[in-house]
């Protein structure tokens, strides 16, 4: 799916289903028996055939769709906005008025869905025609576009002017009524497809406004300066240095260097290997930050055990369920959110979580229209609750201290007596297999990856 919404294709691709629906309705509007009554309209001194009034359109919509005045006007507006119907008197104003102003149906050739490639060349010819007709009296944005095009496709400008003159000459041969209709159709088409602000202009305005919006908060903050912050880098590096195998090596040894995979086996994330006791470094790391604890599957399990003893396990379960909503399949969001509500948020729920009333109110309101981030506020509240309260207490608890005391410090792998004899490098089961088996058991597909935010383990 292309994401360039400013381009022709982008608009069409996003709106194709609604265009089909619109066109179906337009066709029934033009039905000789059940459609809108068309008549000749007087435009200044010329008579335009097959025209209708704004009121006709609105009344037809009210009858056909059984809707109110307001809604009919709104729907009618859309037809005008997307170029299926255009006004005769004030063509620049692409709006529908429920009075006796005249409108016409746009020819299918110019319909949005027809995807007639509105190229720069076509637009240039159109503007050139206008320029010649009105003798240099293009309006502001048209002048800008005309000049920009002149610069960009300068090499074919002779062709452009020649085409414009040719088309004007041909149109002079037609009857005035027909000529006016064709001019109106073309004008309407370009008004829809090249709206009154040039894309470059829009883009620049938006980018500059975004820059201002981004910079403004920084101006009102008391400026921190880096002296305080630089200390934090040193602190972080020093804290993690013992855990950095490239900096300080790892025990029993670095698998890549010694061909011994004990290090990986001992620190296994998955439960394929039954890890009896974790290493001391691993358990220590859980004390660095709440995120480190949650990112390690074993750490998370230990923490859950602790919370169960404190009768607040529902907090962690709620947090996990919210993560599942945030990172899961879009299609499953409504049902997942519903489950979360039933289990954790509904009054009298079996695992009710304690959120402040303001957040709860906001969340419940948002649940009416569930989306990926609807539980974010509640999730954040519970996360910080655990971080500030349960987590520090866990680190001081017997459960944690016990584990830390029992945790092992692996022996360094003795260097091989025959250094030129390479140890055999064993292969390991592919993670794809692990989850395929799990799938067969009907378990969750990505249980391995539920380790929280992206981390470097």
């Amino acid at each position: 799916m292309t994401i360039n919404t400013l381009s022709q294709d982008g608009v069409q691709r996003q709106q194709m289903p609604c265009l089909t629906k619109m066109e179906r309705m337009i066709i029934s509007m033009q039905d000789p028996d059940m459609g809108i009554k068309l008549r000749n309209q007087r435009l200044l001194i010329t008579v335009i055939p097959h025209a209708m009034t704004g009121l006709d359109i609105v009344e037809w919509l009210i009858k056909k769709c059984s809707i109110s005045d307001e809604e009919a006007l709104h729907v009618g507006q859309l037809f005008v906005k997307y170029g299926y119907i255009y006004p005769l008197k004030e063509p620049r104003n692409l709006i529908l008025k429920a009075d006796d102003s005249s409108y016409r149906f746009q020819t299918p050739y110019y319909w949005m869905s027809t995807r007639w490639p509105a190229s720069e060349l076509d637009y240039a010819i159109y503007l050139a025609k206008k320029n010649i007709r009105k003798q240099g009296e293009l309006i502001e944005y048209e002048k800008e576009c005309y000049n920009a095009l002149h610069k960009r496709i300068n090499h074919t400008w002779d062709f452009v002017v020649m085409q414009a003159r040719e088309q004007l000459r041909a149109s002079k041969q037609r009857r005035k009524g027909d000529r006016i209709v064709l001019e109106c159709q073309e004008q309407a088409y370009w008004l829809v497809n090249r709206p009154p602000v040039s894309p470059e202009h829009y883009k620049l305005t938006t980018l500059t406004k975004n820059t201002i919006a981004m910079l403004t908060p920084w101006c009102s903050l008391k400026y921190i300066g880096v002296s305080n912050l630089n200390g934090s880098y040193v602190k972080y590096c020093e804290q993690y240095q013992p855990h950095d195998p490239i900096m300080q090596g790892c025990l029993p040894s670095n698998p890549w260097i010694t061909d011994d995979i004990m290090f990986w086996n001992m620190n296994s994330e998955t439960y394929m290997f039954i890890v009896a006791l974790p290493t001391k470094l691993r358990v220590e790391r859980w004390s660095f930050s709440f995120m480190e604890l949650l990112n390690d599957q074993m750490g998370r399990k230990e923490f859950l055990t602790y919370l169960e003893k404190e009768f607040s396990a529902e907090n962690l379960c709620f947090w996990q369920a919210c993560e599942d909503v945030r990172h899961g399949e879009t299609a499953k969001i409504p049902e997942k959110v519903d489950e979360v509500y039933k289990q954790f948020l509904a009054p009298g729920a079996s695992r009710w979580v304690n959120i402040d009333s303001k957040t709860m109110e906001k969340t419940l309101e948002g649940l009416k229209r569930p989306h990926r981030f609807v539980l974010d506020d509640a999730q954040m509240h519970i996360y910080f609750l655990m971080k500030k309260d349960s987590y520090p207490r866990y680190l001081k608890s017997e459960l944690y201290k016990n584990l830390l005391a029992r945790a092992i410090v692996p022996q360094e792998t003795k260097k091989s007596v025959f250094p030129f004899m390479r140890r055999q490098r064993h292969s390991s089961p592919s993670p794809a297999l692990a989850t395929q088996t799990a799938e067969d058991d009907g378990k969750a597909k990505y249980s391995n990856s539920n380790s929280g935010t992206a981390s470097r383990l």
Binding site: I3, N210, C237, H243, P245, M247, S428
Partner: protein, 353 residues
């Protein structure tokens, strides 16, 4: 992107002037503080000793330039993609090839391993990002189950799974980044703000996991909010294209590698560049950067075939690694920090430890 028009009394010139004056005001505030730079603070800590890193594995098998690689969370498997359209999944430890996919296009510039280890995503000149579930059935053609997820209007430069197999973040030569739902291929959010090709992105390792950084040919590095699509911070001090961006492990900063032959470190809280890693003898651009687990070391691959290892805190170069016979296109540290992998235009990948 919500397109904004001009309000009453505004012109593009007045807006530009307002933006410039805000930038100047911030610079003024920064200058007032006599900040102590990072390398000065780091003077007190011990210098790193002799640094010895060797190639421990060489992965041969690609028929053409290796453009990208990614590690699996199992710490030993990798996926790599190449100019010849091949995407290979290796067990880097044994050097065995486990899966191979032939893409319908050449120049597969982006590839990523899914968090579960069950799928890989890749794309390039086809302007798409496709997800291939990895099947263990040797007879099954992986291309059969391919899922087309992202569609850009120009080449795909980088892709990354977010926290699960269900969402992918992409960056493209069309100047935008985008977030996609894998199952439905639906566009969830798009990020506009770069004025040229976006070459790289990286997800923040933060508690709330809601931001990412991107770098591009407009010399800018932008930080984005994934929920709203807003550009929340922007950094522009490089003198040329930014080829790669990577977060510092704590998430408080990120490093960039650029065609101007420098790597830089930007602090998100101070909203400025805090270190620059460069040397007179380094003339060619840095194509790829990554941190060691503690964040003390920065590995950077260059277009002059070398890999330079920098002391992040002191700003000095600790080692220079030779071995590749052509440009180094990608450098990534393994998930547990035991090694890093480099991919090169010499068709090989090397594991260093």
């Amino acid at each position: 992107m919500a397109c904004q028009g001009l309000a009453k009394g505004e012109t593009t010139n007045t807006l530009k002037a307002e933006s410039e004056s805000l930038k100047a005001k911030l610079e003024e505030e920064r200058a007032k503080l006599h900040d102590v730079e990072l390398h000065q603070v780091a003077e007190k800590i011990d210098a790193l000793g002799q640094f010895v890193m060797k190639t421990r594995r060489t992965l041969k098998g690609h028929g053409n330039k290796v453009l990208c690689m990614d590690w699996c969370r199992d710490k030993r498997r990798i996926v790599s993609s190449s100019q010849d359209g091949k995407v290979i999944v290796w067990d880097a430890y044994t050097t065995n090839k486990e899966h191979a996919v032939t893409m319908p296009c050449t120049w597969v510039m982006a590839c990523a391993y899914a968090p579960s280890g069950c799928a890989v995503a890749c794309g390039g000149l086809d302007n798409k990002c496709s997800v291939y579930p990895l099947s263990l059935d040797k007879n099954e053609n992986l291309a059969a189950k391919k899922k087309s997820v992202a569609m850009h209007t120009n080449y795909l430069s980088s892709c990354s799974f977010t926290n699960s197999d269900m969402q992918i973040l992409t960056s493209s030569g069309d100047g935008t980044c985008a977030l996609w739902d894998v199952e439905s291929g639906q566009l969830l959010q798009s990020f506009h703000g770069h004025s040229a090709d976006v070459l790289s992105l990286d997800l923040a390792p933060s508690e709330t996991g809601n931001t990412f950084v991107s770098g591009g040919c407009d010399k800018k590095a932008n930080v984005w909010d994934m929920r709203s699509g807003q550009n929340v911070q922007s950094f522009e001090t490089h003198e040329s294209d930014i080829n790669n961006v990577k977060y510092y492990p704590s998430g408080d900063a990120f490093a960039t590698g650029s065609d101007d032959a420098t790597c830089r470190l930007y602090d998100l809280r101070a909203d400025r560049e805090v270190a620059i890693y460069s040397k007179d003898s380094i003339i060619f651009g840095a194509s790829s950067v990554d941190f060691s687990l503690s964040g003390r070391l920065l590995f950077a691959g260059y277009n002059d075939y070398t890999i330079n290892v920098w002391d992040v805190l002191k700003g000095t170069r600790v080692a220079i690694l030779f071995g590749h016979e052509n440009r180094v296109s990608t450098v990534r540290v393994s998930p547990d920090g035991t090694a890093f992998c480099s991919g090169s235009w010499d068709n090989t990948l090397r594991i260093w430890a």
